[in-house]
Amino acid sequence: MGRRATRWRGAIVAALALAGAGIWEGNGTLLLAATLPLSYLAYGVLSTAAVPAALVVSRAVDPTPAPPGHPVTVQLTVTNSGQQTLSDVRVVDGVPTDLAVLDGSPRGGETLAAGESVTIEYTLIARRGEHDFDEPRLRVRGTGVGEVATATRHPEGDDRLVCQLDAKAPPLSDRGTDRVGQLTTDAPGDGFTFHSTREYQHGDPAGRIDWRGYAKRGELSTVNYEQWVSTTVVFVVDARSPARVTAGPGRPTAVELGAYATTQALTSLLDAGHEVGLAIVGIDGDGPAGLTWLQPGDGPNQRSLAVEQLRAAADAAESDPAGGPADEADTQRQFRKVMEMAGPRCQLVLVSPLLDDAPVTAMASWAAFDCQRTVLSTDVTAASTVSGQYEHVRRRTRLARCQASGARTIDWRRGTPLPLILDYAFAVAARQPSGSARLGGGA
């Protein structure tokens, strides 16, 4: 049942004015003219409105689950499955309050004949967590707009957007996650990527014989492939207060993005048989020097433990954006402790937005140890504003400083698919069986 609209109040006033003027002047034409606004009033009063049960709402959220920062498309469709034409149907979707509408609008309106439908489409930016949509509100107005009916409808389909650090978003699978974790070695052997050829030796498997070369030259040769070796990688996630910032309201924090990148990378590395450890700097942990520390290990249990700690870090960053007072000495003590705990044979991957100098200093201090160092920097600066561009230039300078200190430096700019960046970060890092690391490969 609808509520009356006060749209025709002006018609009452006009009728009274005309009638009064007619009586004052004794003018019958004016008096008769007063019936015109009254007819509008009667038309409005006669119209009725109700939200019919035949109005069916459905919602599609794609993709869900989504990784942090990924655009999520929401389609809300309202279908008039009844027999009557609804002259004015308006719909407003119940967007979760924590999410930002990137594109489109969650509002729409249309005249719906029997069987017709209207679809509103908008894009949200995913943030970690489970975000429930409110029920969409529908408003139907009668033809005479004398009555308005408003109701909520439970939609068919999705009513929740799930954003997980380990979400397999479409771009991830499109690009291929298996490319991560290919740590190759100088020593050739079995594998998939061509390395070299050598003279055939008795006992070489037939599958590795270069039959094409044999057909051309009549000499048997054996193909060497790049050999994969297992190694130990320790991820160091920067969750200090300078990293608990976003590129804009409603967007994921750098900690969230770093946790996402780390989750994907360590999953791939564990799948490839490497050992992975985790250290989180900037959160009160129960590890040495206040670190959150996970000893390098392998297997699915290691992944579960790591993801749990990353979730806790993202939670802490979200619940306390300001963080505690930044103590430079404590921070550097934690970074040094990471190196001590990891040991020289580990590869260190620092995941940080590089919005202050502490990670750069840490990276320079790690240079004293002969270990492979990588900086994966998440970009949360807005490079198109005056202040954002200032921060962007400073961050670029820090990236250059890290690079100058001998670390492999990767800039994960917004808009670049994560697998591509992880490919850059790990596919080129070759490591010799003796434990010493070198840069090489060809990504």
């Binding site: 200032y390 250059a400 850059y424």
Partner: protein, 308 residues
Amino acid sequence: MNRRHVGLGIAVLCGLLLVAAGAVIGLIGTPEPAASGPGAAGVLVLLVCVLVAFWKLLRTPDDPAISPSPWAADDGFTREYLETTPTDDAVSGTDLAERVEAAVAKARDDGSVDGSVGPVREPLRATLTEALVQGGHDPDTVKAQLAAGSWTDDPVAAAVLDESVAPPDRPFRARLRAWLFPEKAVRKRCARAMAAVSVAADDALPTVVGQRAPRPVPVVAPAVADLQRAADGSLQRAIDGSIPKREDIEASENGTSEEARVDRDGTAADGATSSESETDGTTLVNDDGTDVTATNGADWGDVTEGRD
């Protein structure tokens, strides 16, 4: 339901009575108005009409059966601004925005544009020096370049970063505008200096892996809540304060007017719109008006990128 019927009945009855009265008067013939004006009854009727009309216009219906106006606060359908997002997020890169605001406040108090950019000068100098040195330049050379203003082709930016560099002569129109609106002039100079610093740093700093990677994911268009409809129908950011494009800076090497850039891209004189042009060539920038600007206090604008 009953009230509705009663209202409907009264309306129809009034209408019919008026129609009947008009018809009767029309049939009898139009009476001549009394020379002495309307009688007491006529005045009374007129008074009642006026009172009812005012009551109808001015009263606020509190009947739950009556739908509130769309703009009323208690209308559940429209009360929420769905597109807005929580503003308590800590946003990156607000340091320079605070400095710019200090410079703007100084310009507002003093009225001098040239002498108000002091708060911005030091951070920009330090940033540029660090970037150039990291890019392989000699620190002394950088210092000399800053003093001579030769680090950039933009004389306005050079004058912002070093007070010994004389700002270029400006046309009368620009001087008049700076005198009338010193805050805007200061903002524009800061933006221009920052853009020049960015260009110089871009050229000096070595490329880092990933910077030129494809960016096909559309992640940073401004949120709907931050857009406003411009006079020409295009969407633009609601708040002023933008940076000029790199090509505008490069093109203005011989243009000493602060307004040259703004006039060239056809935006309003206060330069409310600008869009980022990526140097790697992989980013698509919308030209349809979804442009970007920075905010005054909370500087968090984004680049606009299209889907590939």
